[in-house]
Each structure stands twice: as structure tokens, then as C-alpha cells.
Symmetry: none
Subunit: 465 residues, 2 copies
């Protein structure tokens, strides 16, 4: 088998691949907002057609009661490993719209970058994976391994029906491992292999101090103010140095191993640039480097907070209500459910008399995922990346969460290699998200080599714990 | 002179007065919303016509570049004091409309109450003042004192052009004192005299921790979060017991006098009911009763706060920006400008490294107003209210602010007696605002007696400092 022809085919098809990706990006498949439901439907039709056209069989939707996943398979390599290729077709909302320099759903090339919502997260890398399969089938009539494509529609909303989908289609989804287009590269300079990700969980609370907003002239100075109390609650979550002050928050968190700390130190990471690029400043748990804090340690962030009058001008009220959205990041060894409950208990314990704290939303979250250092997925990726770059790949962990990896591990017993080609500076979940056009060629080469490399490992070797 | 005939005339005219008030209330004179400008014009025409009909001279608009004031005078009592009668014809917006039980601009009588926007604040009390003048002129052909009616059109938007109006018409507006229809009664059970009001000032700030919102997976735990920092700033403004923790915030605040504390204690005030009516709980500066805190002591409230993602569901970001609106209430002896600057300096001093704090809006505010206990305005009001009720009136201070009183004091050197007849529970600035119909008769009697009583004081006696 010669992957050279597949790579040549992919290289020749680059303009066509970019065009297809742009068409995919023009579909505003925002899963969080119900008013975008027709576009979610449109995105599924678009993918079903593509999977059929590239020659997959069993192309269909897998429904779990929410946004269905798009599925297709190729089973022409008996005895070879079966890889589930994971991507997601939903994207984050584009708000705040006024901060985009180009229309979020009209992909725009500027200086080697493709701007648009979903370019980096994760339609770009999803396109890479699909087009590699397409070229294998077009050039060779076969893939090196068996393939099960699984494209989720709820990644950006926390995968609420993924468990149901897996439960309903457990037999169909049997595989030896998962290759994920989500979970990208850590550096443009050195090859990196994702050996895991933090998990997460979320909580939304409402604090009330009165039945209604009160006139600040008539009540100010004599009554509790919901914003003052919410501020005090939020301030109590962290120590001034940035460490989390919630009792039980760190329970179970595995201390970073020597190998992890060494890998982290080996990673070429310009801390000053990391912060100055975004205008931010280093802050967090004492005793850890910034890079360790954001990959190896748990974190707690308030993602949104509001209360009182937020319109133009002033309004002299004592607000009666304040609301906050919080998320945790958890690491290996932690139960995300226990961690988010620790946060809730902290808030309840610190809620002052005369105030009520209600849970608006809460989920059990998903745990961190971890790939053993000598797992065949890791070995294959190391071989490919070293061949492509001439450099020894560095093991890194993702600070972000890919809950599906934990769900696949728990329900199907299989591990995931995150092999996306996006880069950390591409403003995912923010205005002006972009994907480097060069990453498409790098990604299609690497995925081609990876599928071939994985065929060298016996199926049973992927099931290592 | 016998006020009996005037009161009889007013009593006989009650249905006619209510009808006129209703016509006034049907004009949606919302000053805050430019789309209501035609109705502001309509309200002025309506008032100009009324002032002319009741026999005032020099009826005209006084323009300061915003919504003009409506003016008219009666100068037929040479040697007697000249009183400026203040009211305002603008009202608050009626939003949220869906919470009204009756149409806000169709005044509706229900069980002795007149519901509608502006009933209590302050068209009801404005009508009382005008109708008393009308009856004096109708019955006696004269008033006991000289009158200058001044009806503002921008009270609900912070009186932006009032200073210009006064500046341009300084000679016209010379008077010995102001009688204000705004600033109401503190109790339905005992007669009260407003001897002053707290002043106020406002500030809006924006805190930034980065150039853009960051992915909480990629940055969470390693970077400052604007909402955490804003929460810490806001929490630092108050001690846990509710007292203000800002250095310099209390500077200049006159300690409550023995008389003030005795008056406050004498005021029949059911603290438990005050809080349970609104579902709130007592909280504030130690060493003071709730009533003292909201009338005699300065206060600092955050009126609105927001940052990050506030839509449906979750968004895993580290917010880069948080914004807050704050207002102070200041008491006698304080410079509101110094107080609001103390708040700003506190925020700046506590703003952590790597964060920027910008002032979005700030004003110099207006100081508290105070009437000396033996001021002729107070003596006259005491005489009237004691005669009417058989009870010794209690001196109270308003917790709310009436900036016009400070402006008249500063620019014209004259004091204001707030002699409105609304009551604290009438949901001003809120849905279902109402005014008690019985207050119209009580108010027209008291204003009649007050004008007669004021005539007993020589003009110079009103200028007591």
C-alpha cells in the first residue's frame, strides 16, 4: 500500500476541499439556540450526502432524543482495527456579532487564514478526516483500517443526548479506538500528542434578596443587595492568589506525575507571549507553572454573571436578583459530579441569611480522559508526527474538555486519540474564529499516514486498560 | 381672610379635580423615551391652558435646551412672600407593561385608589397644588402669597437642562422659597414633615482582564477572570455587616443629631413589616436602626452588574470584561463629588495588576438638602398638619434624592419644602403605580392652609441660611 498516491490526490484536491469546507461553514449550525434548528437539519443533510458520496455504507442519523449524530461506515478491512472517526457539526453561537470583522457564517480567506464560526472548532478538522477517507476510497478503493464515522450535533451544548445515542446503538458503535478531529495541536512549532483532557461540569445559580427590585433611595443602606451578596459569594470561591478556595474542590485530583511535569517543561511555551497575546495576566494556584495550571490542575470559572439594571443610563434600584453561570475543569482522579456539588455546597454555605440560592441548571459533567503513554494510538501518532516533522513529539494534555472521550471510554470501553489540527490561538468560542489554511494540507497528510500506521497494530492491542 | 370658603370650594370641586387629573394622566408624558416627544408636547399644551384658565399671568414655556418647563405666576400680594410651586409633568416609562393589571395610561379607580403611571409620581400632587391656587383665585380673587408655578419636564431623567433653565431665567425665578409637590408623606398614620433628602451621585465602571473572552478550557485556572475580579472589587466595597468599607466614604457626613434620632424613633415604623412587605432583610451599617440607615446615613449600591455569557445554556469562557453601575446616597455635610470619587479611588486602588478599570460614566451628583428645624417652611407646615390631624408632626428625612431642591438652593439661594401627598407604598417607578383618592382631599385642604400660614411669615424670614 502506498499512501503517497492518497496524499497526492489530497494535495491536488485542496481547492475542492476548501470549497466543500466553506459550504459546510455557511450553514449556521448553532446547537445552543433553538431558533437555529432548521440549520442543524440542513447541516445533517449536507453531511449525509457527503458520507454517501465518498462511499460509506449504512449512512444514517443516530437519534438520542436531541440533535441526532450523523453516521456512516466502511467495513472492508476484515482483521484490521476498527476506528471510530469522531467530529462534530455543531458550532458555538456567534455572539457578540458586532465584534466580528467578517460575517461569521460567510467564511472569508484573509492572509492564509479562513475566518468564520466553526472554522477551527471543529468543521476544519472534521473536513480533514472525512476527506482523507474520501481520498483513500477514491484512490485505492479501500482504507487501511475499518472506519465508523460519527459526527455529533451537540458537542457545544455538553452532549446531552450522546449517552442515549450510544446506549441505543451500542452494537453499531463497537470499535477498537476513536480518532477525534476535536482536540487540536498545542503548538505550531513542535509536534504534540494529546494524551488526555480535563473534564468539566457546570452550574447556574440564582440569588434572591427580595421579591422585587427596590428604590435605592427608599431602601439603600438598609437592605441586602443581590449584587453585593452575589459578588461576595463569587469572591469567596477563590483565594486572592487565584487558587480555588472551595472545600473539597481538589479532592481526588491526581498530582502531576514526573513524566507530565517533564513533558510540560519540555513544551516550548512562551508564557509571557501566551498572556500578552490576549492581554491577560498570569494568575492561579500557587506552586504550579501557568502551563501546568491550565492542563494538569482543576479550575473554576464564572462564565457569566448579571443582575439589576444593565441598560443605558442609570436606574436607582437595589437589585433583588443576581444570576451566575459557573463551570469547573477537573483532572484525572476527580469525579466531576462531586466537584460541582462541592461548589454548590460552598455557595449554599456562604449564602447569607435572608437570601435564597436556587439552582437554575446543573449537570453531572464528564471526567478527565487519559491515554497511557505507550498506547498504540500514541505510538502511531508519534511515528507519523516524527516522520513528518523530524522532531520527537511532546506529550501534552488539553486544558479543554472533550466529554465524548470520557463517554466512549465509559460506555464502549475504548480510548480516543485527539488528532485535530487547529491551533490554540484561533479564537474558538470567540469572535473572529479562524483556521489556518495550511493546516488542511498538514492535517490531510498526517491523517493519511496515521490510518496507515494504525493498521500495523492488531485490534486487541488498542484495548489496554 | 377665610380659607374655609376655599376649602369648601375645593371639596365641592373634587369630582372635577379628579376628572382633570385623569385627563392629565392619559397623556403618556414619558421623558426618557424620545418616541414619546409628541406626548411631552401635548402635556405642556395641556398645562399651559390650565395655568391660563385659572388666572395666572406670564404663562409660558421656559426652555433650557431639553424638555421645557411650564411656567405661570400670580403677583398680586405685594409685601407677601413669593413661593415657587414646583411639580413635574414627566413620568417614568411604564415598562414592564405586561405586569400592569390596568392600562398604565388609562387611569382606573379601584377601591379608593387611582391606578396609572404618574398618579403618585407626581401628577396627583401637582394637581393638588394647582387646584388650590385655582380655588383661591376663583373664590377670593387672590392668593395669600405670590406664586410662581414651575412644572419641570425632566425630573425622571435627572433634570439635565434644569440648570440652564434657571440660569436663563434667574430673574424670573426669584422667590423666597419653594413648595414642592414632589417628595411625599412618610406615613398614612401620622403627619410628617420632610426636612431634607439624601443627595446622590453615580458611577459606571468597566473592568478588563484581557483583550477578549478566552476559552475556559485553554485558559481556565491560569488567567484572571474579569467576573472574579469585579466580584472581589464589589465585595470589597462593604463590610460583611453591610457598612460601607470605602475610605473617605463617610467624610463630612454629619452625625445624626439627638433631635433627628428622637424624631426617627418617634416615627411609627414597623421594621419587620417594612422588610417582609418586599421579601427583603435588614442589613446595613452597625449602630443604626434600619430607618436611620435609609434616611440619615450615606449608602452605596451597585444597581447593575454584568459580564460574560448571559444567554441560555452555558458558554465555557473566561470573560474579559465586567461592568457595573453604582450610585451613592449622601447625607448633609457631604460633597457628593468627593464621595463618588472616594468610591472610584477605592475601586482603582483595589484593581489588581494586569487589569484595567475604566470610567464609563460618572456625575458630580447633587448634595443632600436640609431644612433647619425652625425654618418658616417647617413652622408653617407644622401648624397646618397639627391643626388638620390633632397630632404633633414628626420631622422625617427622605432617603431618596430630589436634585431640584439642591439646584434651587445652589442657584437661587432658596429652600424647598417637600409637601407632596403620595405615600411610600404606591409603587412609584414600578408597575401598578397608584395614588389614594383620599389624598386629593387631604392635600387640597393642607395646601390651602399652608399658603395662608406662609403669609404670616415675612419674606426675609425664609432666607435663613
Amino acid at each position: 500500500m502506498n499512501e503517497r498516491h492518497v496524499i497526492d490526490h489530497l494535495d491536488a484536491r485542496q481547492p475542492e476541499i476548501v470549497d466543500w469546507l466553506k459550504a459546510f461553514l455557511r450553514i449556521p449550525s448553532v446547537s445552543a439556540d433553538p431558533s437555529f434548528a432548521p440549520h442543524m437539519h440542513e447541516a445533517r443533510r449536507f453531511l449525509l450526502e457527503r458520507l454517501q458520496r465518498i462511499g460509506l455504507s449504512g449512512v444514517r442519523l443516530l437519534d438520542g432524543g436531541g440533535e441526532p449524530a450523523v453516521y456512516g461506515e466502511w467495513n472492508g478491512a476484515p482483521g484490521q482495527p476498527t476506528l471510530m472517526v469522531y467530529g462534530h457539526y455543531d458550532v458555538q453561537p456567534a455572539d457578540p456579532l458586532d465584534q466580528w470583522h467578517t460575517p461569521p457564517f460567510e467564511p472569508t480567506e484573509v492572509g492564509g487564514r479562513l475566518y468564520g464560526r466553526g472554522t477551527s472548532d471543529v468543521k476544519g478538522s472534521t473536513a480533514i478526516a472525512l476527506e482523507v477517507i474520501a481520498s483513500f476510497l477514491a484512490v485505492q478503493g479501500r482504507c487501511p483500517v475499518n472506519i465508523k464515522v460519527f459526527l455529533e450535533g451537540e458537542e457545544e451544548t455538553g452532549s446531552p443526548s450522546l449517552r442515549t445515542i450510544v446506549e441505543r446503538h451500542r452494537a453499531l458503535l463497537q470499535a477498537d479506538a476513536v480518532l477525534s478531529a476535536d482536540g487540536g495541536r498545542a503548538s505550531a512549532d513542535v509536534p504534540t500528542i494529546n494524551t488526555g483532557a480535563r473534564g468539566n461540569a457546570q452550574l447556574e445559580v440564582r440569588l434572591r434578596t427580595a421579591h422585587k427590585d427596590l428604590h435605592s433611595g427608599r431602601y439603600g443602606g438598609g437592605v441586602r443587595n443581590a449584587l453585593h451578596e452575589m459578588a461576595r459569594l463569587v469572591a469567596s470561591l477563590h483565594h486572592p492568589d487565584g487558587g480555588v478556595a472551595v472545600k473539597g474542590f481538589h479532592d481526588g485530583a491526581a498530582s502531576p506525575t514526573e513524566r507530565q511535569r517533564a513533558d510540560t517543561a519540555a513544551f516550548p511555551y512562551d508564557e509571557a507571549a501566551f498572556f500578552s497575546d490576549v492581554g491577560g495576566s498570569a494568575h492561579g494556584e500557587p506552586g504550579y507553572t501557568a502551563r501546568e495550571r491550565i492542563t494538569l490542575r482543576p479550575a473554576l470559572d464564572v462564565n457569566g454573571l448579571w443582575g439589576g439594571y444593565t441598560g443605558g443610563g442609570g436606574k436607582t434600584i437595589v437589585p433583588c436578583e443576581a444570576q451566575a453561570k459557573l463551570t469547573t475543569r477537573v483532572v484525572a482522579g476527580q469525579d466531576p459530579r462531586a466537584v460541582i456539588h462541592a461548589v454548590l455546597h460552598h455557595l449554599q454555605r456562604h449564602c447569607p441569611p435572608g437570601c435564597t440560592l436556587d439552582v437554575v441548571a446543573m449537570n453531572d459533567g464528564s471526567p478527565a480522559s487519559t491515554l497511557a503513554p505507550h498506547h498504540p494510538l500514541v505510538s502511531a501518532a508519534e511515528a507519523v508526527l516524527e516522520r513528518e516533522s523530524g522532531l520527537r513529539p511532546i506529550h501534552v494534555r488539553l486544558g479543554a474538555s472533550v466529554p465524548v472521550t470520557a463517554i466512549f471510554k465509559e460506555m464502549l470501553g475504548i480510548d480516543t486519540l485527539m488528532f485535530g489540527f487547529n491551533l490554540p490561538d484561533e479564537d474558538v468560542h470567540a469572535p473572529n474564529e479562524f483556521f489556518r489554511l495550511a493546516s488542511i494540507r498538514q492535517g490531510t497528510r498526517a491523517w493519511t499516514l496515521l490510518l496507515a500506521e494504525l493498521a500495523k497494530h492488531p485490534p486487541a492491542s488498542f484495548h489496554v486498560g
